[in-house]
Symmetry: C2
Subunit: 423 residues, 2 copies
């Protein structure tokens, strides 16, 4: 193999240098038009020319899914979920065919497969089906015939032959699940960013791209508003030990490897700083301080499918009857629903007042190194204090500390915290 | 059942008045946008409200298939036929889902099925697959659950699970084959014309819509340029005895019933007058009059997939060596190819000259009654003679007489022939 051939190869881990089985996933932007599909084909062809076996998972071309949803909503405000799956599954099916055609023009044998054909068996919960198992016999057969196999992301089939889709971020899940089932050497998630950064580079221009990150850190970052991937896909990768790389389809830069935590990872205390502007805060003032009240409130919120993030029970006020304040945060779009739920409980529970605010921001630091390092919280609070930033709520996990602050101070906080912990 | 309910019922044959199983096929124009899909749903709901079981076969929304072909051609001039099937099958899959959603809004239980799900098994000849068999168990199950079943036209699946398409007019074929497999009481082909007319109403304004026509007459008309349906679908219907109705999706007018010839049909000598402007004529002058020459010429044309329609061998010229002229007609788009084939044989066969003309028109009269009536040809020739129209070529079958004339005289000929035989 000539050195000129190594332009891509030298950027991926040595372990998969030759004759590896690679699963590559390309999102909607990466296959957004025929020119981009041709570019994807070129990249796949380059990997294959090194002798690698390549399975490609693609999303619908950007705009296609939204266009189909619009057609359905023109007909019915709440279309049947089973029929939405039938409709939306066509988007990915179009991309796989076009990608195979693009590979053929480069002389690369390639064949497209729907989720069902690739053996992706799901439960029957339409629009958000879970993968039950994958029978990749046919994929293996095509690979051993020397073909690149192009699989439709986001979709599967029930054991009864009903077409299902996996919900948001479903194509990532398809790629990771296929990588697990095929025992692939590497799974690459191609997207429109270069990888996972220590924080949002639009806020902190010297944010660094991470070479590697643990599943747990990635999960915390995903749930904290760094929207590189859906938590579900990362959880699946963690469960089945699938190492994957998040990288850009627009250049050849190496991306970020996501894998099981290693000892060396713990040397870094803070892997990343996340900033979530999408939360709102509800404070219930004057909740009777007796058992079962909090349970009643949060059960009612859960029943209304309001996703509650942080919960803080404040100190009791010194009034005649013992009462307390409960604050919690929800996703902004759920605020009205949350307010209605609490309003409905007002007289039954004996709530005095409800205060809401959308002007909050959540800043979080994440790192598996926190487990073995002390003083992290103290340093965080001191950093914010030095900036004159008031902390409204605090929550922690083993590898994360989050603070809720005034939204207007958010970017200042991220800059200061990034400088203090990462540089 | 109240008379007000009979608005549609009284327009279809009595035999299927109640509790019939009806297969309805709607073409691309009939489902061309969401409003039209809603209209299709209303019509289906009306049939169902009478107690009928309805299976709906739909094409891709008009424009969708062409758009997909354009995407593929942007990538490759000659895309793989297997991948084109994967790509194009999505068009119908979108329509079935949208049609099911539209029926749901009317409170009608409905479920969509791909060709594969409906049990349509084909051979593996991609882009023009033949239906091998249909296993409609699942369709039957859904029908007995009271559901309207909406099946994607134009597509099927090989026994190995490869997605195939049936080629032009494939959705008609799906409908007729399903009607046969389901032993449906009636198959309705909804299109943008009211039915089959005695001739093109744009030429003869008082052309009449036929109440009924035999398969053989319909086949002759289809092959003679009256492009209501592809011959393949009519042949399939004839083979399996599927009675079908061609009618408009834009109004409630009864259409034309296509069925096996009955005794009463023979009372009508000429069912229709067809006019084909899409033919060209090739005359080979001075072909040596010896065995095997014609065979050589037409084998070469066949090998080049040139479809030859009429063939006339003219009288020999009184020259030194015995020679003859051979004339034949081909579809206009094939003319250049035909000319090249004959040019290639020129010296080998000893051809003197090739003359071609695109300025011809073929006028045909069709009717099963011709079998039992004499003098039909004479009356046709006399009619044309009275108009001063010269006949260039003649060909006949048991139920058809075709003449080739000057293209410029075509409409005049159609008017005169229609007036003479039909009125």
């Amino acid at each position: 193999m000539l050195p000129t051939r190594l332009s891509l190869a030298d950027k991926i881990p040595d372990a998969v240098f030759c004759m590896a089985l690679i699963v590559q996933k390309y999102g909607g932007t990466s296959v957004g038009n025929t020119d981009r599909i041709k570019n994807v084909a070129k990249r796949v062809a380059e990997y294959r020319s090194r002798g690698d076996q390549v399975v490609v998972v693609v999303s619908a071309m950007s705009g296609v899914t939204d266009g189909l949803i619009k057609l359905a909503k023109d007909i019915a405000p709440l279309p049947s979920e089973r029929e939405m799956d039938m409709l939306l599954a066509t988007g990915e099916q179009q991309t796989i065919a076009l990608t195979a055609i693009a590979l053929h023009t480069l002389g690369v044998p390639a064949i497209s497969m729907t989720g069902a054909q690739a053996g992706i068996v799901t439960d029957g919960v339409h629009t958000k089906a879970k993968i039950h198992n994958i029978s990749p016999r046919q994929v293996h057969d095509y690979l051993s015939e020397g073909k690149v196999v192009i699989v439709a992301g986001f979709q599967g089939e029930t054991p009864e032959g009903q077409i299902t889709t996996l919900g948001r971020g479903g194509s990532d899940l398809t790629a990771i699940a296929l990588a697990a089932a095929l025992k692939a050497d590497l799974c690459q998630i191609y997207t429109d960013v270069d990888g996972v950064y220590t924080t949002d580079p639009r806020i902190v221009p010297n944010a660094k791209k991470l070479q590697e990150i643990s599943y747990d850190e990635m999960l915390e970052l995903a749930s904290l508003g760094a929207k590189v991937m859906q938590s579900r896909s990362v959880e699946f990768a963690k469960k089945f030990g699938v190492v994957f790389e998040v990288r850009s389809s627009l250049n050849d830069n190496p991306g970020t490897i996501v894998k099981e935590e290693t000892k060396s990872m713990e040397g870094v205390v803070v892997r990343g700083v996340a900033f979530d502007k999408n939360q709102a805060k509800v404070t219930i003032v004057g909740v009777p301080d007796k058992p079962g009240v909090a349970a009643k409130i949060f059960k009612a919120l859960g029943d209304a499918t309001v996703n509650v993030d942080m919960i803080i029970q404040n100190i009791s006020h010194g009034t005649s009857s013992p009462a307390t304040d409960i604050s919690f945060t929800v996703d902004k779009p759920d605020l009205l629903k949350a307010q209605n739920v609490i309003d409905g409980l007002k007289s039954e529970v004996g709530i005095k007042q409800i205060i809401t605010s959308e002007k909050i921001g959540k800043v979080s630091i994440v790192g598996v190194g926190m487990k073995s390092h002390t003083g992290v919280a103290g340093k965080l609070f001191e950093t914010l204090a030095n900036e004159g930033i008031n902390i409204d709520m605090i929550s922690t996990s083993e590898i994360k500390i989050s603070v809720v602050i005034d939204l207007a101070m958010g970017e200042q906080a991220v800059k200061a915290v990034h400088a203090a912990f990462i540089g």
